[in-house]
Each structure stands twice: as C-alpha cells, then as structure tokens.
C-alpha cells in the first residue's frame, strides 16, 4: 500500500503496512530521528511532531490515516542553521541537558506560542504536561520559554 504525504515540505511516498506508526516511518524509512521513540503511548511527548498544523504524538498515528497529510518534524521546523523563538530561547538560556525530550518539547511549545504569544508561567507549564524531561530540568525550561514574551517586548 502506498501512502503519499508531505514531510518537511517534500512530497514522500511510504510503501508498507499502513498500520505502522508515523514515528516508525519517520525514523526507519526517512531517517528523521529527531522524534524519539520512548514511551510509545503518547505520554512522554518525545515523538511530538506537527501533523496538519497540530502538535501530536507520532507514535499514535497510523501512517495509513495520513494520506495527503502535511507533517513537520524538528528537522524541518526552521531553515537549516536558524532557530525559531523557542529553539533560540532554549539555546540562549543553556537549558538543554541530555536532549532526549527536547525535539518533542520544541515541537509542542512552538505550536503553543503560535496561539499564545504572551503566556503565564502556569500556562507554559500546563502546555508542557505532555512532555516529560528525565533530567527534571523543568524550571529552567520554563524560565527560558517565559523569556520569549519578554524579549518580544510583550511584557513590561
């Protein structure tokens, strides 16, 4: 069975079992290993990607349901060599630890900031509930994300 979809702006075709998860397809077929394979249950957030404009766990999406979908992974989030606001804040505040959770976290929070440009710390934490950090660096991550609105001049 052939599934046609767009990944990071490029048209791709997957040939294989349509029940295969998008996560497996991204990692094993297209070698896009930014999305991590951890819990496999939609609870850790390490495999979050954008599917048709929503931040979703790739492990729970059968590829056969994604015919014609637009998928963006961490590899395609920003032009090569550039950062979006979330990536820049995390880099500037030097909060990246082991890095396992960061691709999924960046995908989740990049989408979040599209709809809420000036969130409170509570709103940031609420949006992050589906992204677990095994290094437990949560407060520094929240500090970095909270700085985005400040640096955009949205907070006095």
């Amino acid at each position: 069975m052939a599934i046609r979809l767009t990944i990071n702006g490029e048209k791709q075709v997957f040939h294989g079992d349509p029940r295969t998860s998008l996560l497996e397809v991204l990692r094993d077929t297209f070698r896009l290993t930014g999305a991590k394979d951890v819990c496999g249950e939609g609870f850790c957030g390490t495999c979050n990607v954008h599917i048709n404009g929503e931040a979703l766990p790739a492990c729970l999406r059968p590829i056969g349901m994604l015919e014609g979908a637009e998928v963006t992974t961490i590899e395609g989030l920003s032009p090569m060599g550039t950062f979006n606001a979330v990536q820049a804040a995390l880099e500037k505040h030097d909060v990246v630890q082991c890095g396992m959770c960061f691709p999924g976290l960046v995908m989740t929070m990049s989408k979040f900031f599209e709809t809420n440009s000036n969130p409170s710390r509570a709103e940031i934490k609420s949006a992050m509930t589906g992204n677990l950090c095994r290094c437990t660096g949560y407060e520094l991550i929240v500090d970095a994300l909270a700085s985005i609105a400040h640096e955009r001049g949205l907070v006095q």
């Binding site: 069975m1 294989g16 079992d17 349509p18 029940r19 295969t20 998860s21 497996e24 397809v25 094993d28 077929t29 496999g40 249950e41 939609g42 609870f43 957030g45 979050n48 929503e54 931040a55 979703l56 766990p57 492990c59 729970l60 999406r61 059968p62 056969g64 349901m65 989740t108 609420s126 949006a127 509930t129 589906g130 677990l132």
Partner: protein, 289 residues
C-alpha cells in the same frame, strides 16, 4: 516496520458504508477514530488488529449542538474540542474539566468521546465517567437500525454488543444545578487517574442537596453510578465531613481493581475524600455564582 504483515486501513465515507463494512466478517476491520488505544495494542502485549476502518470521513459522527433541552456530542468530537465547546457552560463544568485534564495535551487532540466510551479495556475514562453523572444517553447505529439507550446500560453491555454497531453521538439532557469532576493521579498531571469522582447536584439556598448524581471511574473495570450514596445524601444538608463519613460507610459497595498503578483497596479508600472534594467544588461554584 511490520515487513511480513500486510495490514489494511480503509476509510468509510458514510455511516451506512461503515456499518456495511463492519458486517463483513471476512474483512475483520476494527473501527478506529483517534487511535490512542488501538495503536498501543502491542504495549499491552495484544496483537495489532489486522485492519482498521477509519471513521474520520464519516460526517454523521461529527458535530456539537447545544439546544434548549438537549446537548448532542458527535462521537468523533475530540477531548480538546469538547473542552473548547463547553467553555462558558457552568452547568457542564465537570464534563469540561474532564475533557481538559485527561491524559496529555497531544492525546486530547486525538482521543475522541466515542473512543472513551467504546473502549472496553480502558478502565480510567474521564469523559465516560463525567457523562454518567449527566444522565447521558448514547445513540448507536447498526445493520438493524438506529436506537438510543442510557450510557450506563451501554457501558455494561460493551462485550456483547454487535460488531457492526457504531456509536453515533451522546445526548445530554439540560439539567439544573452544578457539576464537578475530581480525579486522583500519582503525578500532578499527565497521568491516568487512580480514581475518578464526577458529581452533579442542585444545592438549594439552605444547602440542601437534591438531584444528586455521583459517578465513579477507574476504581472498578467499568465506571458506574454510586446509587447507594446518591440515595443516602439526597435531601440532606451539605456538610462536608458527614458526606465523607457516609461515603466511607458505603464504600463497601466497591470491589476495587488491582493494577500496577494502585491496588484495588487503595482506589476504594480514597473515594470518600474525593466525594467530599467534588461536592465542595459544586458548593463553591454555587457560592461563587
């Protein structure tokens, strides 16, 4: 990747087509909506279904309609969309809360109301428990036609229901009073609850509880109403400690399920406190209003 298996994902484009396909036993397709349960089959050491019948194109399963006497929620409504749709509906605060705090944000954007009700093996369904406290009815369609029945009856008959049956929508009567939804998780968020208490009631100006509805989820395999407690508290003045005490006395009603997250006895033991919290919440809503 499953290189040796050849699965199938077929999209039904209407309710009639979906029912017709499910009636074809040789195809053995399993209906899939959000997929948050089916895609975890292997984690439960269960075989992945040989084929999926995708329902996402079935327009009859969509829609949210709030009318003067009834609310209709299409089976494909996601938890996220339900939470958004219920903003500004104080009498449905409990259901809205259930929709907004279940699982994780990503799962809430996928998981559907229909899936939460139909998934027999999932023992901690926030939405189904909240709907029980709202006297929900479900509409089902199959080869023999369309019918509706109480949600409680549906939940208790899931193992025996026809394989070609599809849950179309949930219907809620508009009710007076307030509702709340309380759950205990081992982490503060992003976890399945050990126990769920969803309540609805009318509280009079003299703090008398009437039309009390108490639904319990995650404690036993299937959510259910706690009718013994409802009967005991109906018409009583709301006194938090007395409610908790009555709940403690009546909790012998429950045979808690043992699982890796908590033993059954623990699930039952936390119920009195959760009931007290849930009732206090609707009492505070009334005062705040």
């Amino acid at each position: 990747m499953r290189e040796e298996e050849t699965g199938e994902v077929y999209f039904a484009n209407s309710l009639d087509e979906a029912i017709s396909i499910l009636s074809d036993r040789e195809r053995s397709l399993v209906p899939i909506a959000g997929g948050t349960w089916l895609m975890r089959s292997e984690k439960r050491k269960e075989a992945l279904a040989p084929g999926f019948l995708a329902l996402s194109n079935v327009s009859e399963l969509r829609g949210f309609h709030m009318e003067s006497n009834q609310i209709s929620i299409g089976a494909l409504t996601t938890h996220h969309d339900l939470g958004v749709a219920l903003e500004g509906s104080p009498e449905l605060f409990g259901l809205a809360d259930a929709a907004r705090i279940s699982a994780t944000p990503g799962v809430r954007r996928l998981a559907t109301v229909g899936g939460n009700i139909c998934t027999d093996g999932f023992h901690s369904p926030d939405i189904a428990t909240a709907l029980l406290a709202l006297d929900a009815q479900v509409e089902v369609a199959g080869a023999s036609g369309t019918s509706s029945l109480p949600l409680s009856e549906y939940l208790n008959s899931r193992k025996e229901r026809p394989l070609d049956e599809i849950l179309v929508r949930v219907m809620l009567p508009r009710m007076a009073g307030a509702t709340s939804h309380v759950r205990l998780t081992m982490k503060s968020s992003g976890d399945y609850p050990v126990a769920i208490v969803s309540v609805g009631a009318v509280i009079s100006s003299t703090s008398v509880l009437t039309d009390l509805r108490v639904a319990i989820g995650s404690v036993e395999e299937t959510p259910r109403r706690w009718t013994a407690l409802e009967d005991a508290l109906e018409g009583q003045v709301f006194r938090p400690e007395e409610c908790k005490s009555q709940a403690r006395d009546l909790s012998v009603d429950f045979n808690g399920r043992d699982a890796v997250d908590a033993p059954g006895s623990y699930r039952v033991s936390v119920l009195p406190h959760l009931v007290q919290s849930a009732l206090a919440s609707i009492f505070n809503q009334k005062r705040g209003g």
